[in-house]
Symmetry: C2
Subunit: 619 residues, 2 copies
Amino acid sequence: MYRLHMITDPSHTANLRIAIDRNSSLSMQEQIRRKIIDDIALGVLIAGTRMPPSRQLAHDLGVSRNTIIMAYDRLVSDGHLISKDRRGLFVREGMFGRDLGAIQVTGSRQSINQSVWHARLATVALPSLTSVLPPDWDQYPYPLVDGPFDRSLFPVAQWREASRRALSVQEINIWTRNAGDADDPMLVDELRRKVLPLNGISVQSEEVLVTTGAQQALSLVCDLLVHDGMRVVLENPCHPELRMLLQKKKVQITALDVDENGMQLSAEAIQAADIIFISPGCQRPTGATLSDERRALLLQIAAESGKIIVEDDCQWETSLSTNALPALRGMPGGENVIYMATLAQPLAPAIRLGVLVAPIPVIRAARNLRRITARHPALSIQRTFAHMLALGHYAALLRHVEEAFAKRMIALREALNYYLPNKISLLPTLIGTSAWITGPKTLDTRLLVKRAGTHGVLIEPVHDYYSRAVPNNVFRLGITGLVESKIRDGVAAFANAFRETMDPTPSKTNFDAAQALSGSAIKRVCNGAKLLCKTVYGDPCTIVLSRNGEMQGRAGFANEDRDHGTWWVEGDYWCRQWRQWSYGEVGRFRVVLRGERIEWFHQDGHLVDWAILVRRNKK
Amino acid sequence: MYRLHMITDPSHTANLRIAIDRNSSLSMQEQIRRKIIDDIALGVLIAGTRMPPSRQLAHDLGVSRNTIIMAYDRLVSDGHLISKDRRGLFVREGMFGRDLGAIQVTGSRQSINQSVWHARLATVALPSLTSVLPPDWDQYPYPLVDGPFDRSLFPVAQWREASRRALSVQEINIWTRNAGDADDPMLVDELRRKVLPLNGISVQSEEVLVTTGAQQALSLVCDLLVHDGMRVVLENPCHPELRMLLQKKKVQITALDVDENGMQLSAEAIQAADIIFISPGCQRPTGATLSDERRALLLQIAAESGKIIVEDDCQWETSLSTNALPALRGMPGGENVIYMATLAQPLAPAIRLGVLVAPIPVIRAARNLRRITARHPALSIQRTFAHMLALGHYAALLRHVEEAFAKRMIALREALNYYLPNKISLLPTLIGTSAWITGPKTLDTRLLVKRAGTHGVLIEPVHDYYSRAVPNNVFRLGITGLVESKIRDGVAAFANAFRETMDPTPSKTNFDAAQALSGSAIKRVCNGAKLLCKTVYGDPCTIVLSRNGEMQGRAGFANEDRDHGTWWVEGDYWCRQWRQWSYGEVGRFRVVLRGERIEWFHQDGHLVDWAILVRRNKK
């Protein structure tokens, strides 16, 4: 799809700088000819490119004009170039087709021996990550992954306004200036006045370094503060890029499991550690928030025994309104915590900015290390983003994104509840932009990922996140890349993939028509019944079926989610329609009663849902 | 000076997210009050910032409104906040002055113990580089350093046009898209079709990685291809960032001296090496170009014995027209050379782009490593620069910059020749943007750097560039940051600093008035004389003084630089005026003859220049 938008300019005259080897067994004419053929095959010279005039090329290469004329003549007669009267020679169309990958390039390029390079790189080979976003993620109808942002969230007009401001002559004079290793002071001030206080963090300029995304901050900190022989504590699961950074070091890693309250901290584990990497705000990848008690424990032990805490707060922008706690770094006793965050996630691939907050000596060392590994992030970007902040556009963006994500997360949970009841359970976190989901024990998520793809649903395998004992039945669904209106259809398609994965050769034997209740039996059972069930996100749910055909539903630990609707019987089918739940649509099911358990079956025989039936006192 | 241009927005309402410690011995009111005072002292809350209404803050922090009202009241009575009728509470001006660095912040921040952090960072401490550009370099009247670019070279209109193109909705849709680890395909294609061929390099897309400046390319290559136990060959002198990157590895480094033909290669040294780092095009920092013979030797041995060559071509943009040779990577036999270059140097601090060219397995590994250390450079910048290329603005920029630099280099050499004849010698390289200069053996360039500063001249100490045996009398002058019209004045000021450094207590004893020639003696000696001298850049120079008062000058090995002028005698002074040389100005000197050597002295007694006098046959 890039090709459509690419501005190519084949009409420019080719740049040909050919090194002639005068000791070669090949004639100069032959060397020039081969180089031009190679360039055409490689796509360096594309169809329609004008060749330099022979006189000029002869002068540039320091050879006789005859040599060039002979080379050009042969290229024309072989069909590589065509002559257009009075306009010169041009590269001809279609000599090598379009698929450059398959071309055997002539001559010298054959000397590149790939296996030699593979051997040389073997000692530092990084594993290929299956969790890396495929470049074509947005070609899927339903990209249910966490991280990439759909285009509707990019603040086009606001970014343009900030760019225009940064492109005034006065501003250009500032950001084109080479200030050594310094970041844009306007951005640093905007960050410490407007952004960091959102996480409870108040710092001086000297405690702030702007980075090329939070990943660079993490990389700098690992290089500066993790040394051979150290004991390092991580979360399990944890984003694989951190484990890969530590792979180079000879350290002893303890990975502590994560539950719904974040990392399962034990005083022993922390006391034995030198450095602790943690994502307390919105754990990567599960989305859990570290509880108050664990925060207090962590900060207390760190303060007493001088542990280094590295806080990764990369999801804060998408969990600001739902997360009641400030960053660890912003809590009393958090002054020595090393803190890093992503900036402007919906703009992330475009602007790649992050921030590192640390005590001054660490920032100084990080700035020195940044100097030799990459230098500062582009100052034009720093200044443009500073204007996004100064103009208030960033604050507006955060509000807009959070609102959109809150709606999408509700849509995701409702859809999961509707299409996959009683088959999966979500980690009960109310934060972030993804659901961390455990399926049945027999689920193989690798198969699920593949099967989902055939239904147009992209989901992310989570195997790379685990240090050990990778569970086969855990997966994650995210909503950053998919607009709210498409989530239901996406989950419906995903549910089909899920069922096919669990039961590749579906049989309908789990529905026994002989056991199904008749219409009159359904009425008898349901009149005045109370049903107890659970939503996919683990909330209790109670439904009361009144005799008059009305029904009331309450879900959540505080009954905060309520709806009402009607139920009735058609033939041997139990029917219901909620006002809002289950999309307000009519559902028709066969019913089976096994002891206290009432089961609903789809017409095709598959089990849709079940509940515990509590008979109410007859009124 | 940034402050003048900074758009501050004190009128926004403060973001206050205060973590209350309910176990603290301090009351909640006291904690809130201290946090606000800290924020004011730190400059996080600046004068004029509006405080959130007490009701809102109480709600946000989950405390009673009374607590907030009490805290606010105390802050008002202590003078930190002021009340403006009906508009709320605002941070008051001037409580802490402007110098935040000196402030003792209250409370919790005292727990940051800097010495602990210094100790922790000790094992990885990078030396502070004296060669790092000071942030205030452009505050000097004469920044005679190499690297930073004066603003006149930034293509404002062109960059704006490219930016506008990249800001169309269609384009924004492309570069905001998260394409995993991929670079902008438009930029990659523009690079391999328009930029790399300028250096003789033809490659496929898969052999190209876009980096955050060439420094990131170098850092990635060091991490991937330099392993403990290897023997590494570098240049001496060499840019210190490379040595710092290698500092982390346990390698045996051989630094080969550089002369006017580049690195002094020996077959033994190369054969003993595993990997060779070299800057053959325009050596960093001397500016020498690796000769044809040494290139052939290097490529031959590398091909025979599989050495890895890493080619740093960071100066190519400013030496394109003067350097007749393509990159090593573009020469026959250079297919396995790993190549890196800076892109758009005059735009460098603003856009930070570089390129790495290497065999496909190396690029794949570098892309993986880039993923965990920083990810790709911002795609908005990549696309904007791609438009600079597509629009032809980059080619125009290269032409413009080269032309400007060629004029400046001539101005620099003429000025050095005029102000410091016979005192210094330049490495005879005709390339690049700086002069590598050796002064008298007794020169101490550290003193020279300091003294130059007092004359408004910024020059760069070169000590950091050397691996060993740092010469005290070598320095470098560059012209990237200073417009042509200011170079003469800059060198004049520098020459004063130079003289003061060489002779801090000037005496005039080297001029003996008794030995000076009288006016008639001067006439007798000079009529029809031929003078042989050398320019500061080592070129021979011949001057013929005709009886009729005319004079002819020829300089250069091919006598390519010619001028003519007049000479005459006033009293006991010899006077001359060239048409172009010596700025076409009148010079008046006393003259002493010592054997065959004729010496010219300034009125103040210092030796200006000397030459060998050849008596011509009388006509």
